[in-house]
């Protein structure tokens, strides 16, 4: 924040200051996101068969996203905190609505048809849950007591299980992680973290027997040995690894990737888009992307530590770190070190709701970065 102010003062003393007073915007974050979106659109153009169809739609979502982000940035942090419970409640209701009236594809029911557009409420929960948990914990003891941890877990698990029912295991894991991260940042005791780890381990056989569907089990088996079924579920992962590996150090060149251009790579414009990037831009491209991501995450965590309120800290910190979880899950699954779950690569994969959700999150971050000093409680 200090750097930001400094830069702005140097460039345009007076005018900008007035602007920054009336409009909340974090220029560094804005610039980094702009670069990321531009890179994403270039990759998407190639991944979509060098057709502008997806690029145009994605660009539209991004423009709406930027507007939305700037809009959200103007909302005061206190307002967010006050409305957190309502927003979370609406999110839960829409998840229920999806289960009851949702439309879907490929055996899953994920969308809510609003007539003019289709919404994926599970995506929205990725910010609703950290918002709720941050709001809840910021008013409680720090570190959270057993009772507060329990309530938090209930609030995290409700949407998570609803999303598992859709079924959308990938998003469910990410929603759970986003809530858990708030607890972690709030100073959750080591016993709880350890306990969560143990419970997760114990849950594996239970999940395998009662929760996971056949295709999900198949994905996990595929991770262990994709070569067993080269034409079935192993196909995706073999093709994506081939695409990444054949890209080499500096790639085959933009729109020159044979794996993606000749359609060997499945879902190349959505979940597997990193393979297109890796094939066409090589390891250099992957490292450039990672650098960009790390800069964004670093900026988010900086905003978090400088936040004036505990709510702002927790929300900004969790949104920043969940951003990394998205990246890790996606890049890990495409490169074959994690099972294949539906998880897009943030800002690069094609998908409207995911983009808008991300921008809303960054809008909140910008709002937090401009949070006025709170009235401290006097002792």
């Amino acid at each position: 924040m200090q750097i930001n102010d400094f830069v702005r003062t140097m460039q345009n003393p007076g005018g900008a200051r007035r602007l920054s007073r009336s409009v909340n915007v974090d220029f560094i974050l804005f610039l980094l996101l702009f670069l990321l979106c531009a890179f994403g659109l270039a990759v998407l153009f190639s991944a979509g068969g060098q057709d502008l169809f997806y690029v145009k739609r994605q660009l539209m979502f991004m423009i709406v996203g930027f507007v939305l982000m700037l809009g959200v940035a103007q909302i005061s942090v206190r307002t967010m905190q006050r409305w957190a419970f309502v927003i979370y409640g609406l999110g839960l209701i829409s998840l229920l609505a999806v289960l009851l009236f949702g439309v879907g594809a490929k055996g899953a029911q994920r969308w809510l048809d609003l007539g003019f557009t289709r919404l994926q409420p599970a995506e929205m929960m990725k910010i609703c849950v950290p918002l709720m948990i941050s709001a809840y914990l910021s008013k409680r003891f720090i570190p959270p007591t057993f009772k507060h941890v329990c309530w938090s877990v209930v609030m995290i698990l409700m949407p998570t299980l609803l999303i598992v029912r859709q079924p959308d295991l990938g998003t469910a894991i990410l929603v759970f992680a986003s809530g858990f991260l708030v607890l972690f940042l709030a100073g959750l005791g080591k016993r709880y973290i350890l306990g969560t780890g143990l419970i997760s381990l114990a849950a594996i056989p239970v999940m395998w027997l009662f929760v996971l569907r056949d295709y999900q089990k198949q994905r996990i088996l595929t991770l262990l040995s994709p070569e067993d079924d080269t034409l079935g579920s192993g196909w995706n992962i073999i093709q994506s690894k081939t695409a990444i590996g054949s890209g080499g150090f500096d790639g085959k060149g933009w729109t020159e990737g044979t794996q993606s251009q000749l359609s060997f790579l499945p879902e190349s414009h959505t979940d597997f888009i990193i393979a297109v990037l890796a094939e066409e831009f090589g390891l250099i491209g992957v490292m450039a992307l990672c650098t960009l991501y790390l800069l964004i995450i670093g900026r988010c965590l900086l905003i978090a530590t400088n936040a004036q309120s505990q709510f702002g800290r927790l929300l900004a910190g969790s949104l920043g770190s969940i951003f990394f979880v998205y990246i890790f899950v996606n890049m890990g699954m495409v490169s074959g070190i994690l099972p294949v779950v539906g998880a897009p690569l943030p800002m690069i994969s094609y998908g409207g709701t995911a983009i808008l959700t991300l921008f809303i999150g960054f809008g909140m971050l910008m709002a937090i970065s401009r949070e006025p000093k709170q009235m401290r409680t006097q002792f």
Partner: protein, 631 residues
């Protein structure tokens, strides 16, 4: 709530948070390192492997099948050709759920149940990534419908390929044969590379015998394909060598004349060029449409052919074994003359039957009811009138050993070596043969039966034609052959060897006798000499289908037609300079003279008078005249 907030300590909150945020940053860096390490491993360490794998994905070596050699008759008429047809094929490895796919396809183009059933059968023995045909011979409309919808039918391809076509349909089915889909047994025998782009192979006839020449050499091309197997571009290619074209000795006009002459009767005919041994016509009636087999015959059609009492798939000309009957008389007469057991002056009395000492039952002559051929019958008369008693006596006197061994030299009892698969060898019995096959010793009664071409003796129509041409050429070892040239190069015909010397006067004697069969008033085939503009020599024959006991009369009214005698006829012409020899059998035709001889007349007329039939009348009529002038 307010109470709890009151206890909060902002400094401690911030301190705890910063600690956790630092821990999170550390973990984020560690996990980023894990990701980078993973991508480094794939993109740098395993780079070469994945480049290979990526190339294997997109670059395919595709066989470029050669065009199969075309088969022509001696005048350049096409008997077997290649036609471009479009087939609907599926690459299993590229398609999704098959049942669903086939359902989608059947909504676009009609698919019969047997199409689908046979597709699944083929699917089991396909090679990986091979196009397995689902429907053959798509119409242009079907091709267009599929072309429009191809993008949503993964793994489906309309492939144009050359398919065998037999324009003469049934006429040459037994000569040319047909190709069919490679079966499980054949797939283990063939060179997988040569056949990589070919799914059919010669099954019978010349198509099988000359498979290696007809096939050609496979070419190849490297193509870049997308994940659906669609070819995006050809990287490089090696053109295939087409198979060799065959030109046959067969004359398709003559073949048609011969086939028509059977007029629905069952039987077979072989006509040979005496100068070269080339087969001019080879008929086995009834026949079948060879095109039925090319893309896999339907079960219904196949069982109809297989279960037909007329057995149309059986090539009677080379596989049918019949007792030659009296058609062997000229040959046996020649052997007897040569071995001095009879002479031109030998005469016998024929009371209509022959009795042998110690055997009660007499052997009858075929005209025994008319009291036999009378007194003083000589060999010529015995041939012309077909007197059995003369041959009974002559056979006993000559003996089985001489008759058997000398007959072999004329092509009886052994494969002729014609360029067709599946030839039968017939039976020329001997003492050894009987011991080995019947486990009994040879009796004189066996010789008597054999001396009129009955008993154990069996021969194919082809063997009769070969025997006739060897007699006609006065002892040249003429070998039958269907193919005249391969790719324009004439097959080397070695000069026919001469059989051991037989006195020329005996040759003339036998030739004259055979001429008498057609031209003398008492000849058994005089009915066909009316209006003959050349001289023909021949011999009729009748072969029993059911054995009639000696004291019983053959009464055709008591038998159904399938038990009637077979009618046979052999002939050569022109008498002065023999050019064509024929062997004919008409199953259940009863009499060689009435059923088989007219067919010989039609075919020999067709051959010797062919020139006057053509449009170029003026020029060729002159040539025709010169033929007659030679006579």
């Amino acid at each position: 709530m307010i109470e709890e907030q009151a206890f909060s300590d902002p400094a401690r909150e911030r301190q705890i948070f910063v600690g956790r945020a630092l821990l999170a940053s550390f973990l984020i860096l560690v996990f980023t390192a894990v990701l980078i390490a993973r991508y480094f491993d794939l993109q740098i360490n395993q780079h070469q492997d994945f480049v290979t794998q990526s190339d294997n994905n997109r670059v395919h070596l595709r066989p470029n099948p050669p065009a199969r050699g075309v088969i022509y008759d001696r005048n350049g008429e096409i008997l077997a050709d290649n036609q471009s047809v479009s087939n609907l094929t599926i690459i299993r490895e590229r398609s999704g759920d098959l049942d669903e796919l086939i359902e989608n396809i059947s909504a676009l183009v009609p698919l019969s149940e047997s199409d689908v059933k046979r597709f699944y059968k083929r699917l089991k023995r396909r090679r990986p990534f091979e196009q397995t045909p689902l429907k053959f011979n798509l119409s242009e409309q079907e091709q267009a419908i599929l072309a429009v919808n191809e993008h949503r039918l993964d793994g489906v391809k309309v492939s144009a390929r050359l398919s065998r076509f037999y324009p003469k349909r049934g006429l040459f089915a037994h000569v040319v044969g047909y190709v069919g889909r490679i079966n499980e047994r054949e797939i283990t025998l063939i060179d997988p590379i040569q056949y990589s782009g070919t799914d059919s192979i010669g099954k019978v006839g010349l198509e099988k015998f000359y498979e290696d020449s007809l096939l050609g050499n496979v070419g190849s091309e490297h193509v870049e394909t997308n994940a659906r197997g669609r070819v995006m571009r050809v990287l490089d290619k090696v053109d295939p060598d087409s198979g060799s074209d065959l030109v046959l000795h067969v004359d398709s006009k003559l073949q048609q004349i011969a086939f028509d002459a059977f007029a629905g009767e069952r039987g077979a005919l072989v006509a040979m060029d005496i100068k070269t041994g080339g087969v001019l016509a080879m008929v086995s009636a009834p026949s079948y449409d060879a095109n039925l087999f090319v893309s896999g015959i339907s079960q219904k059609n196949y069982s109809r052919l297989l279960n037909s009492a007329d057995n149309p798939m059986f090539n009677r000309a080379i596989q049918g074994q019949y007792p030659p009957g009296s058609t062997v008389k000229p040959l046996f007469g020649l052997i007897a003359l040569d071995s001095k057991t009879v002479s031109p002056s030998t005469k016998i009395d024929d009371p209509g039957y022959f009795k042998m000492e110690g055997i009660e039952r007499p052997w009858r002559d075929h005209n025994s009811e008319r009291g036999g051929h009378g007194k003083g019958v000589d060999l010529a008369e015995a041939i012309i009138e077909s007197c059995d008693v003369f041959f009974y006596k002559m056979g006993i006197k000559t003996g089985i050993d001489i008759l058997s061994s000398e007959s072999m030299a004329f092509g009886l009892g052994a494969k002729t070596g014609i360029d067709l698969p599946g030839e039968a060898r017939g039976i020329m019995p001997s003492r050894i043969w009987k011991k080995e096959n019947r486990g009994a010793s040879w009796f004189n009664g066996d010789t008597i039966n054999m001396s009129i071409g009955q008993g154990f003796m069996l021969s194919t129509p082809l063997q009769l034609a070969v025997m006739t041409s060897r007699i006609a050429s006065k002892g040249k070892v003429i070998e039958p052959r269907l193919v005249k040239s391969i790719d324009g190069v004439d097959l080397i015909t070695t000069e026919s060897t001469q059989l051991p010397d037989i006195d020329p006067k005996y040759w003339d004697y036998i030739h004259q006798s055979m001429k008498g069969v057609v031209h003398s008033t008492k000849g058994t085939a005089t009915s066909i000499n009316r209006g003959l503009n050349y001289t023909m020599a021949g011999k009729t024959g009748t072969a029993q289908v059911v054995s009639i006991s000696a004291d019983e009369d053959y009464d055709k009214s008591k038998l159904n037609k399938r038990q009637w005698d077979h009618a046979l006829f052999i002939a050569f012409a022109p008498f002065e300079d023999p050019q064509i020899a024929v062997g004919i059998i008409v199953e259940n035709g009863e009499h060689g003279s009435s059923a088989a001889a007219p067919i010989a007349r039609a075919v020999i007329d067709g051959y010797l008078n062919a020139d006057s039939d053509t449009t170029n009348v003026g020029n060729l009529a002159l040539q025709g005249l010169s033929v007659y002038a030679n006579q």
